[in-house]
Symmetry: C2
Subunit: 345 residues, 2 copies
């Protein structure tokens, strides 16, 4: 049927051990023999059987990525980084796209299956605590991306600093009354982004006021969605009159900002003239909507995730590392800065 190393061995007049050594670039094969064997390999167009190799060598050359679909553009971008690096390192990538935490758990279990994958990447969700010992027991490398756990390698974005940068930008543009639209404070990113906002205000000697923070938790994703953004904006505009009027708002995510833009347009509030906006994430829509926003280096995060996984395979006992990325400010029209410096396109 298909060509095996036994066929190669017979054809080349050598033993199967020698054939295997040739295929795996083992040093102790004479140049002559190697050439002979490789010639036969080519002639019979031999292809190794992936699973036989994996069974015998106890390495799978495969990793899995558990990643929620709802992150959309983030999903694609980060996946490109992962995929490119995986190809470079010769790994196959099993994709487990999920829509909810219970699906994620299912795939965690599946990834933990003995000999299934050499490593796991877990994205944008908090790791259920019950899986911590399981990964540690079988010593399966795990990297968290856009998430954090002290026991594992993690990669995340510095939400606090990013929020500070965003708010500082509005301050630099002369705004002194800056509101915030946030998502549920039950999530760490929302808390961090609010803290960053608070810090920037404090730096400028401005008070942090609870009545300037608008939070809606309607819809999915703890309020990180379009409808919640819209509701918050309507709320804000309803209360935004008189001399105490906010002239700018920092919005915790681009998707919320998209909804907020709709709400503002509907209520006749012009952006940026009546209200300047800076948000967070730089999803694809942000460019089209001309949102000034904090960009996360998604592709780079994907690449680094795989690098960390690889490093962990090499040295399983090193201490868990945390790498944080500083988001960068992308200036577009929504903040009202005079010279939009869109460099990306």
């Amino acid at each position: 049927m298909s060509v095996t190393i036994y066929d190669l061995a017979r054809e080349a007049g050598v033993g199967i051990g020698t054939v295997s050594r040739c295929l795996n670039n083992h040093p102790s094969v004479s140049a002559e023999t190697r050439a002979k064997v490789l010639d036969v390999v080519k002639r019979l167009s031999y292809q190794p059987h992936a699973y036989a190799q994996r069974l015998a060598s106890k390495k799978t050359n495969t990793i899995s990525a558990i990643i929620p679909f709802f992150t959309n553009y983030f999903f694609i971008q980060v996946l490109q980084g992962v995929q490119d690096k995986a190809a470079e390192l010769g790994f196959d990538l099993i994709l487990y796209g999920v829509n909810n935490p219970s699906q994620a758990e299912y795939y965690l279990r599946r990834s933990l299956q003995r000999g299934h994958v050499d490593g796991v990447m877990f994205f944008s969700m908090s790791l259920p605590e019950s899986y911590v010992p399981k990964f540690q027991q079988i010593r399966l490398p795990l990297v968290l991306v856009d998430a954090y756990h002290p026991e594992f390698d993690s990669i995340s974005v510095r939400n606090l600093e990013g929020a500070t940068m965003a708010t500082r930008h509005l301050l630099k543009l002369g705004h002194t009354n800056i509101a915030m639209i946030n998502a549920s404070l039950s999530t760490q990113p929302a808390r961090d982004r609010m803290e960053g906002y608070r810090i920037a205000l404090a730096e400028a000697g401005l008070p942090f006021r609870n009545d300037r923070v608008f939070i809606s938790e309607i819809g999915k994703q703890d309020g990180f969605n379009r409808e919640a953004g819209r509701a918050s904006m309507e709320d804000l505009i309803g209360k935004n009159s008189g001399k105490d009027r906010a002239t700018a708002v920092f919005i915790a995510s681009d998707v919320q900002a998209m909804g907020a833009l709709e709400g503002a347009a509907e209520l006749g509030v012009r952006v940026p003239d009546d209200l300047a906006i800076v948000s967070f994430d730089d999803i694809e829509l942000a460019q089209h909507a001309q949102l000034t926003t904090m960009r996360q280096p998604m592709y780079e995060m994907g690449v680094l995730a795989l690098e960390k996984l690889f490093a962990r395979m090499k040295s399983p006992d090193s201490a868990p590392s945390l790498t944080t990325f500083l988001p960068s400010l992308i200036v577009r029209r929504s903040c009202g800065a005079s010279v939009p410096s869109e460099q990306l396109v």
Copy 2:
């Protein structure tokens, strides 16, 4: 180290054959024995070794998807369909995201590796002819999605009919001078969409005029990109004056339409008042930009792709099937229809 069926067999006081039969729901095991074995399985928290199973059974329970990243939203949507169905059928999905045809070929070869996957899905690119015999020889199931080849199962969208529907919609709104912005005619979709446009015009007794079709091939993807759309729109507007003025345009894709909108805005042409627009694809941006467009059932296509692959595994000898999906008209603001009927959100 890890628990094997030998451990189970010893612990349960049965043979390894019996254990294996229990695990695989083979009928000829007494209920009593089965219960005993399954109890031990649970007690030792046994996990089968994936690759040992695969080597012995000669089935991988894995499929690969070769899919270009540049399709963006299509990518995510269709992948969700694939993933959901794969989970249901118990398959693992190896994702090979690519950015160019040579990467695609690399992964085709990899997928063809003996015993690597049980089936392959190939998206949105034309299959290199040299791979046709390779798949046929080793009888590896292959499904083409958003693509077509007579020798394989294919799923595609009826571009011609979709274009006709789009153009008809503009006609129904009273337009009699309708232009088209297209991409390179070297691609089948571009040809089909133009033919559909032509047919709708003919139905209405209107002439097809070459000077009303604007094609730019700048940038990537044979002109299916933002810059090309913008260039074409600028070209159109430059030539659009006098009584021979086009009042509507059918644009071959949403991404082109996004660029076209920018160009129109810059040149002071209002959409839809001065120029009505209908485009094609219904990517995520389309909703935000309020583009009236032809929606492709992406999720459904993903599900069907996996169903076809599965069917092909069951009966390798049936004739190749082609399924086409009819896109549906999503009415938003860009066409100027009085009552936007956005049902999706």
